[in-house]
């Protein structure tokens, strides 16, 4: 097929998709929360982020690889080879934008012969609105793991997403986002993320302390709430003196917050013993006149020599990109749960802090490493343990990744019901969330269920996605008379698995189409039905439904 026709077809698929489906566009039903759009994002990011010294990214990436390699040598591991371009693009798009790449994006990427094209792809994704949406939802899920169980989260969680997303766009430093959440003051009239954080935890000091230590410090202090921690050194008194930082904020009968002045202290539950606020590790804080205890705590958490914060966040980001943390579970730093690569974690934390807690710098560096770019194909049994990072783990999609990827693959038209990432009851997205949501937030553990399989095989959404008339991807392919069967099959593979079919896959598929038409020469629907079958099989295959 001549190149110009090829381009025309690519344009068909792209345009259809582009017109009706913007996976990166969220919260479209709330005018105040309209997506800021590409231009806005770049503007607010400013030049700073893109001007980060490439050298630093390269240096950290090399350091990651050296430390991982050293451990491979020690453990006699033969690592998997590097991912090919298609596997890399799919993975990085899922990790950063929360969906699979479009046919257009895959074609562009595969035909680009710039040797820096992987880096360029990462730059493009990190500047896209979808990145900030995906990151916001990912972090909200980690920050509030109770998810849809909580009434306020269920109905106002999307407001928090919008707020957090804006913070992530405006603040390149993650410490500033944390400050906005933790150092909340009742005098602020703004309906910001901090207010939401304190609301969800009903301003309860114990719950606030547990959530803060788990998410921002990677320490599960709450196990010491009722008694001394059985598996680690945390003492009950330490838990309560940490909780005391949150004792100064109270909720009135109408839900309004008030500040209780004075040095914060709290009684250990079930006893008369009063303890004063102390940082983890026992250091006593200095309270100034005008700074709230939460402010003082935030300063301690986000200071560059805090031993927990940078490690905890670096590890979360690592776990997001690999499916497995260096400390795993990622929020369980403890002597009984040591890191797989302690030196690497130290290095990531140090660099993260040295770059003013710039999340994008850390993401760029990790993705630039050879370690991240390994294939998920197992080529040696020594690669089996995911904590060796000797091949990339294959992980189930989150509910959001699956929904957005299906819509992307099929270019489904129905924008009103499918576009929204907010939690709408009984919307297709909500039903997906309920069936597929991994409540514990830990992808690597999730197991496929019967109900999910039924929905993927027989559900209305899949029916639409494989209907030659309603699925715009199929319709565009079938309507283009100049396309050969080979080209059509190839496009379906690109749209779903984000790679072209191998030779040994192409032949039987072509055969299948041909014989379907041959058996029913008078039936015009024979070929479309056969394509619909292939689309169905692709969408139901393991390769489609995992991030690998």
């Amino acid at each position: 097929m001549p190149q110009f026709l090829r381009n025309a077809v690519a344009a068909i698929v792209f345009n259809v998709a582009g017109m009706c489906w913007f996976p990166g566009t969220v919260f479209s039903d709330e005018p105040a929360n309209v997506d800021p759009g590409e231009g806005n994002v770049q503007q607010s990011l400013g030049a700073a982020s893109s001007e980060i010294a490439r050298d630093d990214v390269g240096r950290l990436a090399a350091k990651i690889d050296a430390l991982i390699l050293a451990k491979w040598r020690e453990d006699k591991v033969a690592p998997a080879p590097q991912s090919d371009d298609a596997e890399f693009l799919r993975r990085v798009t899922l990790d950063l934008a929360g969906r699979i790449p479009s046919v257009w994006e895959v074609r562009e990427f595969l035909s680009d012969d710039d040797r820096h094209k992987r880096r360029k792809a990462v730059d493009r994704l990190l500047n896209s609105p979808a990145f900030f949406s995906h990151l916001a939802v990912t972090w909200r899920t980690m920050l509030f793991p109770q998810g849809g169980a909580d009434f306020q989260l269920r109905f106002a969680g999307s407001t928090f997403d919008v707020w957090l997303r804006q913070q992530l766009i405006e603040n390149s430093g993650y410490d500033k986002v944390v400050r906005e959440i933790l150092a909340f003051s009742p005098n602020e009239q703004r309906n910001n993320g901090g207010r939401f954080f304190y609301q969800v935890h009903s301003a309860n000091p114990e719950n606030l302390a547990a959530a803060t230590s788990r998410f921002f410090l990677g320490v599960r202090l709450e196990c010491a709430q009722c008694h001394d921690h059985p598996f680690s050194h945390w003492k009950q008194e330490e838990f309560w003196s940490f909780a005391a930082f949150f004792a100064g904020i109270e909720r009135g009968p109408n839900g309004q917050f008030t500040e209780k002045p004075g040095a914060p202290s709290i009684a250990i539950s079930g006893s008369e013993q009063l303890v004063e606020a102390r940082f983890l590790g026992g250091e006593t804080p200095k309270f100034m006149d005008d700074a709230s205890p939460r402010r003082v705590l935030t300063d301690w958490i986000t200071s560059s020599d805090n031993p927990y914060f940078a490690r905890a966040v670096a590890n979360q980001i690592w776990a997001h990109l690999f499916g497995v943390g260096i400390v795993d579970p990622p929020d369980d730093f403890d002597e009984s749960n040591p890191p797989s690569h302690p030196e690497l974690l130290d290095e990531l934390a140090r660099e993260f802090a040295a770059h003013n807690f710039d999340v994008q710098f850390l993401i760029r560096s990790i993705i630039a490493s050879r370690t991240y770019q390994l294939t998920s194909r197992m080529t040696d049994s020594s690669q089996k343990d995911p904590r060796r990072f000797a091949r990339h783990s294959a992980r189930s999609f989150t509910a959001g990744q699956l929904f957005d990827s299906l819509a992307q693959a099929a270019s489904l038209h129905d924008t009103t019901s499918f576009r929204n990432r907010t939690i709408l009851l009984d919307s297709p997205r909500d039903r997906f969330q309920q069936l597929f949501a991994n409540q514990s937030g830990e992808n690597s553990e999730s197991q496929a269920t019967i109900l999910q399989s039924l929905m993927m095989m027989n559900g209305e959404f899949i029916e639409a996605a494989t209907d030659p008339k309603r699925c715009a991807t199929l319709a565009a392919l079938l309507d283009a008379p100049f396309l050969s069967d080979t080209e059509r099959i190839e496009t379906l593979y690109l749209a779903t698995l984000s790679r072209p079919p191998r030779r040994d896959e192409l032949d039987p598929m072509r055969e299948y189409i041909k014989s379907a038409s041959a058996r029913n020469p008078d039936d015009e629907a024979a070929a479309p039905s056969a394509y619909s079958d292939i689309m169905w099989a692709l969408l139901n295959s393991s390769e489609f439904a995992v991030n690998h």
Binding site: P145, Q146, A149, D150, F151, R154, A211, E222, V324, P329, D332, N337, S376, R377, M378, T379, K384, P386, R387, A394, R395, S396, D426, Q434, F436, N438, Q439, S440, G441, E442, S444, E445, S446, Q447, A448, T449, I450, L451, Q452, S453, L454, M455, M457, N458, G459, E463, D504, E505, P508, E511, Y512, R519, S529, D533, A537, L538, N540, S541, S542, V546
Partner: protein
């Protein structure tokens, strides 16, 4: 979390890959593929698993009034106008609007001294349905997920089936929590519409093929899918990939299972269906019996409302008496017939029934003739297998505002249920925070006298 993932890797060698697939696809093209895709289908219908205990939870969405059901206060101003009637057990009285249950009181262990701490719908629902207060990041499983895992006999139907739940406020109280999605309930009859036939909605979603796809075509598609994913699956040992095959096999097995017959209520004698009541709840109880009969270990049926099938009508803040009377008229025949029907089939002694909502109602009647949320002193009922019926457990004060004797906490109630079901209460599961959690809190005290 997945430090050691167990693998179930098919052992087919590389060489057979392509040949198998070509055979699959050509067989599919000839329209004849069926069992080659899944050995499970062929080896199916092996021995019927031994029958174990089953549990039916009758869930009263909104919080039922104890004062108008099982703990009346005749003569006291808090009692209202509802009359108490004698039951088949001398000395036990219940509401006049539960006449059939009154006759079956010898089967019931009425717990009148529930004492819990959550008076908010969402949090109360979570507490009663999981056994734990919602606190911090631990995702506790619904007891249906937890117990069905223990009672499972690996049948063709899922182990936990939830009929007509109203999950609106607290979806997580209906979920598998840290046990993972494999233990999620199969849900039927959610989002029912008023006026739709009582049983029309009690079907499994996505169980039938779309109209344009017949079984042959579905086989073809499965064959194509197997070919597409073969190489990928062979080279990715991750649980995310490997668990899919089992899930698909089980799903297809269920789609084609004889057991699906359970959902065809039309096959029941119309007279029996009438006895259960031609309301969604009545027909749901009938479905529960049919499911238990086919080996499903945990079934729950929600009674959400008379008019609004997705509501929480037990939440009688206004006009309590009339509201509860109407609900009782649905509850009474359905529940009584369920016990009689199970008994007729010899299933009652291995089926334990628990009746409860998220909390009770205030003894004092408010200005709108309603009763508000009240977790301090309220009622639940145990019946059937493993339960010694014909008794009342605990007592509330004359005005109903306090537990006067034998307070029962949620974990005490659940410990009793678990005992009746023959589940090992001390077994541990690992929570999402890596902490082991027992089936029942070790500090719980089961109600010994309620056990047979």
């Amino acid at each position: 979390m997945n430090r050691k993932c167990k693998l179930n890797r098919p052992s087919a060698s590389k060489n057979t890959t392509r040949r198998d697939w070509l055979r699959t696809v050509s067989a599919a093209m000839a329209g004849g593929l069926s069992s080659s895709w899944m050995p499970l289908l062929a080896a199916d219908a092996a021995a019927q698993p031994a029958r174990r205990h089953a549990c039916i939870l009758l869930w009263m969405s909104g919080g039922p009034s104890q004062l108008d059901t099982f703990d009346l206060k005749p003569g006291h101003e808090n009692g209202g106008d509802v009359r108490a009637i004698e039951t088949s057990v001398p000395g036990i009285q219940i509401s006049e609007h539960l006449p059939q249950l009154a006759k079956a009181a010898d089967q019931l262990a009425i717990v009148r001294s529930m004492n819990t701490k959550e008076g908010d719908h969402s949090r109360g629902t979570y507490l009663m349905r999981t056994g734990y207060q919602q606190q911090g990041p631990i995702n506790y499983p619904a007891i249906g997920s937890l117990y069905s895992q223990e009672l499972s006999a690996d049948g063709e139907l899922p182990d936990f089936i939830s009929i007509a739940p109203n999950r609106f406020l607290t979806p997580q109280a209906y979920g598998p929590g840290f046990l993972g999605p494999r233990h999620a309930p199969l849900i039927v009859g959610e989002y029912s519409r008023q006026g739709s036939p009582a049983d029309g909605s009690l079907k499994v979603a996505n169980l039938s093929l779309p109209q344009s796809v017949d079984v042959t075509r579905h086989d073809t598609r499965l064959g194509l899918m197997a070919g597409i994913e073969h190489d990928f699956r062979e080279t990715r040992p991750d649980a995310a990939v490997q668990s899919r095959r089992t899930a698909y096999e089980k799903a297809v097995r269920m789609m084609r299972s004889q057991s699906l017959e359970a959902f065809n209520l039309e096959h029941e004698p119309p007279a029996l269906r009438d006895r259960y009541g031609r309301h969604q709840f009545g027909q749901g109880c009938l479905l529960a019996r049919r499911l238990v009969e086919r080996g499903v270990p945990f079934v729950e049926v929600s009674l959400n409302g008379v008019n609004n099938l997705n509501g929480s009508e037990w939440d009688s803040h206004a006009d309590n008496e009339e509201t509860v009377r109407k609900l009782n008229e649905i509850l009474d025949p359905a529940w009584a017939t369920l016990m009689a029907d199970l008994n007729d089939r010899g299933l009652l002694e291995t089926t334990t029934i628990l009746w409860m909502g998220e909390f009770g109602r205030t003894p004092k009647i408010n200005g709108s003739g309603g009763r508000d949320h009240f977790p301090r002193a309220w009622s639940t009922v145990l019946a059937g297998g493993g339960i010694r019926g014909g008794q009342v457990i605990g007592r509330t004060s004359d005005d109903g505002t306090e537990v006067a004797d034998r307070p029962v906490a949620v974990q005490d109630l659940l410990a009793t249920l678990v005992s009746a079901l023959g589940i090992d209460a001390q077994k541990q599961n690992i929570s999402n925070l890596g902490r082991p959690i027992r089936i029942v809190d070790p500090e719980a005290n089961r109600i010994e006298e309620a056990l047979a």
